[in-house]
């Protein structure tokens, strides 16, 4: 589903160049559950941003479902994100003025999906927080907020979910719950998950582990 070939991302070209990604080539199949780990500054977030069409590589090729992403316009990229990609962040990034229900609903609206109320409640149910539908983010714990953000990412049934250190702000109990929920979704809907993480707990759930160092792939192993 995803093919990266000799991907490079260079910040400050011409000045003090930072090679955040250096000749990265990866294939990712549908339904994979993979983690990218490595030391701080090794390029994990940079890679996820490029995978998520939020950022563009300096050189190399990126094919998303056979489409050459480097040739797409801003609005095409926005379209891919809207319909095919869900994001989960370390800081949840829920819209504070919207309830859990409305946060999830907004994701569907932006994706131009037709939906029923049950679709949203089911998505919340999938991550075990159906009864918090009417709560605002400030009225929920970090773990609960992160589950809303998972429901928000999943509800539009995207092909790919990108999670940048999703457990970094959670205790291990909550982190385990979140990971279990995502693993379940991965198995239930065959959605592809890519994590960036430092957390051994996250890695323990992964079927494939990629280690980055200085923007290069150091190891790529499957369990």
């Amino acid at each position: 589903m995803i093919k990266l070939e000799n991907l490079k991302k260079t910040y400050n070209p011409g000045k003090i160049e930072v090679h955040a990604l250096d000749n990265v080539s990866i294939n990712i199949e549908e339904g994979e559950f993979l983690t990218i780990h490595g030391p701080s500054g090794s390029g994990k977030t940079t890679l996820l941003n490029i995978l998520g069409c939020l950022d563009i590589a300096t050189s190399g090729d990126y094919y998303f479902k056979e489409r050459d992403v480097s040739k797409l316009s801003m609005s095409d990229l926005s379209n891919i994100r809207r319909t095919n990609i869900g994001f989960i962040f370390q800081t949840y990034n829920l819209i504070p003025v919207l309830t859990a229900y409305e946060n999830v609903e907004l994701s569907l609206m932006l994706a131009h999906r037709k939906y029923k109320k049950e679709d949203i409640l089911n998505a919340l149910d999938d991550v075990g927080i159906k009864d918090l539908a009417k709560r605002f983010p400030r009225e929920m714990s970090g773990g609960q907020q992160q589950r809303v953000s998972i429901a928000r990412a999943l509800v539009k049934s995207p092909k790919l979910i990108l999670a940048d250190e999703p457990t970094a702000n959670l205790d291990s109990e909550n982190a385990t719950m979140i990971m279990k929920a995502m693993k379940e979704m991965n198995e239930k809907y065959n959605v592809t998950f890519v994590f960036s993480t430092h957390d051994p707990l996250v890695m323990s759930f992964a079927k494939r582990l990629i280690k980055l160092k200085d923007g290069k792939i150091e190891t790529d192993e499957r369990k």
């Binding site: 994100r81 809207r82 994001f87 504070p96 932006l110």
Partner: protein, 402 residues
């Protein structure tokens, strides 16, 4: 989606409640003053125009050919034949001839400048309804031989009562000075300072006799619709006379009104600028505080246009609420001036440039509601354009990293 943007915008503006409230109040103040100033100034303008047309000039005034627009009172050299009136009055139902000249009024201790208006009692009444404005005594049709009607403010300032005697001194058409003793037979109060502060009414025949100008008049006041075309018609049809519209003869007032409106628009403009800066600031701060959220919305596929729209709607809502509140506020401060009016007599007989006197009523100002709303919303949307654009151009990669 647009509906969702509206609800989202609505929720967003109440996040920084105090900031939004202050902005709305500032905006309401600006819009309120706009409504109030316009209502009051239009009230002054309308009253002035009514005073000019209904009490002084009419819609058209026909003058002698030699009449000079700079002269407030026509000079005796410009008088023309009464027969012109007989001809012109065949065409117009409301038509009144007069003879005006300058005279000094003298009582035992003071003197003042006045304008004598010799008129045909019933004709002047049909055009100007002067008999309705008599506050004491009678209109000239019921005065006896040496009685005249004097303006209320003259009576006041010279302390003249009904029946009192005074002397008029003037230069007649032959260039000789003449003096006559007259009695106050009536006191008139029209609201037009030109009349109330300056004029003394007497029958046309008497004025002609005083001026030794038998068979002559100085002007003809006409009330008619479409006065601009009628003016042209008169000028084409009749020789020896020239027709002027009330506007031609009120240039000073009209210029002054333009200047005052201009001045008040500048004032209002400045207030609006301040309010606009408030909205600009509110939206810009909102953008800075919500960078991360904007990044998330963009990551979720919200387009630049939608982000721009979201912030513009937020500005628009603030503008709309501010305008509605401002219109209410404007109406409120305007209310006493509509009901009781604005009493300019507290300034004495000071000339404020508008031909008005006593109590002037402000307009309700309903006609300013729609412009104030449109203006208020458009300015607010424009003021939020720059912050909205900046928000739309934020790069999610950067904002999500912070």
């Amino acid at each position: 989606m647009i509906k969702r943007l509206f609800t989202l915008a609505f929720k967003n503006i109440f996040r920084a409640r105090n900031r939004t409230m202050i902005t709305i109040i500032a905006y309401a103040f600006g819009i309120g003053l706009y409504v109030f100033m316009n209502s009051l100034l239009t009230g002054f303008y309308n009253t002035s125009v009514k005073n000019i047309i209904d009490k002084d000039i009419g819609k058209i005034k026909v003058m002698g050919n030699d009449y000079n627009l700079d002269d407030a009172v026509p000079l005796p050299e410009t008088y023309f034949e009464y027969t012109k009136y007989t001809d012109i009055s065949k065409q117009y139902e409301y038509c009144s001839p007069d003879m005006q000249f300058i005279a000094s009024i003298i009582t035992s201790d003071v003197s003042a400048k006045t304008v004598i208006r010799g008129v045909e009692t019933d004709k002047a009444n049909s055009v100007f309804h002067y008999s309705n404005d008599i506050v004491e005594g009678v209109w000239i049709d019921q005065c006896n031989d040496n009685e005249v009607v004097i303006g209320g403010r003259i009576a006041h300032s010279l302390n003249l009562k009904l029946g009192d005697v005074f002397t008029l001194i003037f230069k007649n058409r032959d260039g000789n000075f003449d003096a006559f003793d007259l009695n106050v037979g009536g006191i008139i109060s029209t609201g037009n300072p030109n009349i109330d502060r300056l004029s003394i009414f007497m029958p046309l025949a008497k004025a002609q006799e005083f001026m030794s100008a038998n068979g002559l008049i100085s002007g003809i006041s006409i009330k008619t619709k479409k006065y601009n075309t009628e003016k042209i018609k008169i000028n084409e049809t009749f020789t020896g006379v020239s027709a002027y519209t009330w506007e031609d003869l009120s240039e000073d007032f009209l210029n002054l009104d333009k200047m005052k409106s201009g001045f008040s628009s500048i004032l209002i403009f400045m207030i609006v600028i301040v309010a606009t800066v408030g909205i600009f600031n509110t939206i810009l701060l909102g953008m800075f505080e919500r960078k991360r959220e904007i990044g998330m919305l963009k990551a979720m596929g919200m387009s630049r246009r939608q982000i721009e729209l979201l912030f513009s709607i937020e500005g628009g809502i603030i503008g709309f609420v501010g305008s509605v509140a401002g219109i209410a506020f404007g109406f409120l401060i305007n209310l006493p001036f509509v009901i009781k009016g604005f009493d300019i007599s507290v300034y004495g007989d000071m000339d404020i440039g508008y031909p008005v006197q006593g109590v002037v009523k402000s307009l309700w100002g309903f006609e300013f509601i729609i412009p104030a709303l449109i203006l208020g919303v458009i300015i607010a949307v424009l003021a939020s354009y720059y912050p909205a654009r900046r928000a739309a151009r934020l790069e999610p990669v950067k904002t999500l990293r912070d």
